[in-house]
């Protein structure tokens, strides 16, 4: 069939199939907005616990210690090169030494990224119950490929302002017009005997710097 006639035909079939005028169903929204009653501190603790469950490495830091933590994580990983998005706060990198840092423009290629050891970004929101970090391409997070191709991702999450308890609280904070990447632990697979193994195509090491004044 040609394009427009396939469209017409599919829509005709749908309308014919619904010829019995089935009763419309209201969607019951009585499920919970979050599971449990926690303080912001407890929600941040839960995020740390659930990130660690999926083999992300969580590093608690006070705001003044972000730069030191980022520098230490790059050094511990043995990174000699790193890429950062254009809007990453400069002070986060102020203590990095001995690492060649590239700022990713929109023209950075996957091949260039394949030769880079680490990436450092912020995030849009983090979800405690599921141990998830969401990136939305904002200037401190950059285009999607920079957090995909390098093998080591350092992600800075600011608690409590960026941390929500559950999935229903995360969606209203996100703009679907932006490309969104939800990350829960390093890349993994359950494809061999339905047993989870960390580390396939995405970054095999995910370091999360969880920043809160309470540390």
């Amino acid at each position: 069939m040609t394009g427009s006639s396939s469209r017409t035909e599919v829509l005709r079939r749908i309308r014919a199939a619904l010829g019995d005028r089935p009763e419309d169903v209201p969607v019951p929204r009585d499920y919970l907005q979050e599971h449990g009653d926690r303080t912001p501190q407890e929600t941040a603790d839960l995020l740390a616990e659930h990130l660690a469950d999926y083999r992300a490495h969580v590093h608690r830091a006070a705001p003044a210690d972000i730069a030191g933590t980022v520098a230490r994580l790059l050094a511990d990983h043995g990174s000699r090169t790193a890429v950062v998005p254009p809007g990453l706060p400069q002070e986060w990198l102020s203590q990095v030494a001995g690492v060649e840092v590239t700022t990713a423009g929109a023209d950075i290629t996957a091949r260039e990224l394949d030769a880079i050891d680490s990436v450092v970004t912020g995030c849009a929101v983090a979800i405690a119950e599921t141990g998830t970090i969401v990136l939305d391409g904002s200037p401190d997070q950059g285009v999607r490929r920079i957090t995909l191709v390098p093998d080591h991702h350092v992600c800075v999450v600011r608690a409590p302002e960026q941390v929500v308890a559950a999935v229903p609280q995360a969606l209203p904070r996100l703009d679907p017009a932006r490309p969104l990447t939800w990350i829960s632990g390093p890349s993994a697979t359950s494809d061999i005997e339905l047993d989870r193994v960390e580390g396939v195509h995405g970054p095999r090491t995910l370091d999360v710097v969880l920043v809160s004044a309470a540390v």
Binding site: R13, L18, A110, L180, L194, V197, G202
Partner: protein
């Protein structure tokens, strides 16, 4: 890859072979039992699971009720965001559209994200004939492709292979497709995953065209959602210049908010995780980030025929989590290949005969590939009453009747092999409706019980007793027993004997 399902034997024949494969049985038992316990734990964390399940079912039912409206809304939103929408009536239509889109790029290689829809339409085989190489990048799909095999599970297509079999496939076949397996590859899952990483990295960096499916499409925003684990999905969705997504029309949901239900129920039901490692959402195209060209191919291929069946249409709620496979006693023993389609297990047993019709012997056998134990319904995150739909489809196979096939209302005949069953049922109806005939039958049956065969004659009868013993007819009927019992009681107590109500005739 031999992804074709044409000419496969009906479920009973295929299962007769597969159930004798001790290695397959052991692999499946190990994998399904591992995931069952984990899923129960992940679901148990959410006190409102039944509420999420009900909401998920209602969102899908509501969407199906207004499917035309939501698809048109989706089309407008995707187009406004810079994408192009195509509509495909059937597999041939979709394959042709995708081939033309790949041709237009001038490329002869594509990288693929695991996609049930493209498996269903046999896209890889079609592209190969057209001179286009399609590389599967999901680990399990890679195993299946390198092993020239077919997928046997929705989530874990290579579930029928264990780690040492996978290592052997990698050692033998990786070199023919690209970078060979590392020397001395072990069979630990971590090493096997590393081998896949190395093998596919070059393909990802080189690829200009990516092909995917989608788990959800949001009508109000035009947002596509792909849920995955390994990062191969992210590679295919962001690195190529052109992205083509082939998606069943039933995957649309009305609002971005609706994802709050499915992003809670899908990961816990499928991989038994609180959340899968990676979920990608994109809306049309974004400057400088991801493909410059995005095509969405909306696939019917029997879905509207399914929608036309008022009892069978809830099958279209399916979000492809595979929880029903993992709990099914029949799937665990027969394996996925016996179901002869991209959709094995209980969901396949109701989906395939609706998408493809029941004219083929394999498809007509699928509604019977179940013990009706109901475990699939219990775990389904969108509450599809699979056992009831199985019974409904058995009725369709045995009795025929009015169905919609390829968009046209038609009447199908009863499937072959059900004639004897129908004759027996008609005879039973006459007998049960006439008390005198029924008593005479009972009397005769009891008196001749020693002469009854253990196996039935005639092909249809043999088909029944091949796997079961005929029940033994007791020496006397319940009515005989009651008469004797009441006589004894009257003798003992002096009370009058109660009759069996036979004089009242048929009830």
């Amino acid at each position: 890859m031999s992804g074709t399902y044409l000419g496969l034997p009906a479920f009973p024949e295929a299962a007769r072979t597969s159930t004798k494969d001790a290695q397959l049985r052991a692999n499946l038992t190990h994998a399904t039992h591992t995931i069952r316990a984990k899923r129960a734990g992940a679901v148990g964390e959410l006190a409102d699971w039944q509420g999420l399940r009900a909401a998920g079912a209602a969102i899908k039912d509501h969407t199906l009720r207004h499917l035309d409206t939501y698809l048109e809304q989706l089309e407008a939103a995707v187009t406004a965001a810079g994408g192009t929408v195509h509509w495909a009536v059937d597999a041939a239509d979709a394959n042709r559209i995708v081939t033309e889109l790949v041709r237009a790029t001038g490329e002869t290689e594509v990288v693929k994200v695991k996609s049930m829809a493209t498996q269903e339409i046999g896209l890889n085989d079609h592209l190969r004939v057209e001179g286009i190489s399609a590389y599967e990048t999901d680990l399990a799909e890679l195993i299946v492709q390198l092993g020239d095999d077919r997928p046997s599970h929705i989530l874990v297509p290579a579930i029928h292979k264990n780690r040492s079999q996978i290592r052997d496939i990698f050692r033998t076949a990786m070199g023919e497709w690209g970078r060979p397996a590392p020397d001395g590859l072990s069979d630990t899952p971590a090493d096997l995953a590393e081998a896949a990483r190395l093998h596919l990295r070059e393909k990802f960096l080189r690829a200009k065209v990516g092909i995917s499916g989608a788990n959800f499409m949001v009508a109000e925003t035009g947002t596509m959602v792909v849920v995955e684990s390994e990062g191969n999905g992210r590679m295919c969705l962001t690195l190529p210049e052109t992205l083509i997504s082939v998606v069943g029309i039933e995957k649309v949901v009305p609002t971005f908010r609706d994802l709050e239900v499915f992003l809670q129920t899908l990961p816990r039901s499928s991989t038994a995780e609180r959340m899968n490692p990676y979920t990608s959402m994109w809306t049309g195209t974004t400057d400088g980030d991801g493909p410059r060209t995005f095509h969405l191919v909306l696939l019917d291929n029997g879905r509207t025929d399914t929608l036309a069946d008022t009892e069978g249409r809830p099958a279209l709620r399916c979000i492809r989590c595979s929880a029903c496979l993992n709990v099914c006693p029949v799937y665990e023993r027969a394996g996925g290949h016996a179901y002869g389609s991209a959709y094995p297990g209980p969901i396949g047993a109701i989906l395939t005969p609706q998408l493809r019709g029941t004219a083929d012997a394999l498809d007509a056998s699928l509604p019977y590939a179940s013990s009706l134990c109901g475990a699939c319904y219990d775990v389904c995150p969108v509450a599809i009453d699979i056992p009831s739909i199985l019974v409904h489809l058995r009725e369709r196979v045995a009795q025929g009747g009015e169905v919609v096939t390829a968009g046209r209302r038609t009447t199908i005949k009863p499937a072959k092999g059900h004639a004897a069953e129908r004759a027996a049922m008609r005879a039973a109806l006459v007998t049960l409706d006439h008390p005198v005939a029924w008593r005479a039958t009972q009397y005769l049956a009891a008196r001749t019980r020693r002469l009854h065969p253990r196996r039935l004659p005639t092909p249809a009868g043999r088909a029944w007793t091949d796997r079961r013993d005929l029940p033994q007819v007791p020496a006397g009927s319940f009515r005989d027993w009651w008469r004797e019992h009441e006589k004894e009681r009257a003798g003992r107590t002096g009370a009058p004997a109660r009759d069996t109500g036979e004089k009242g005739g048929a009830q």
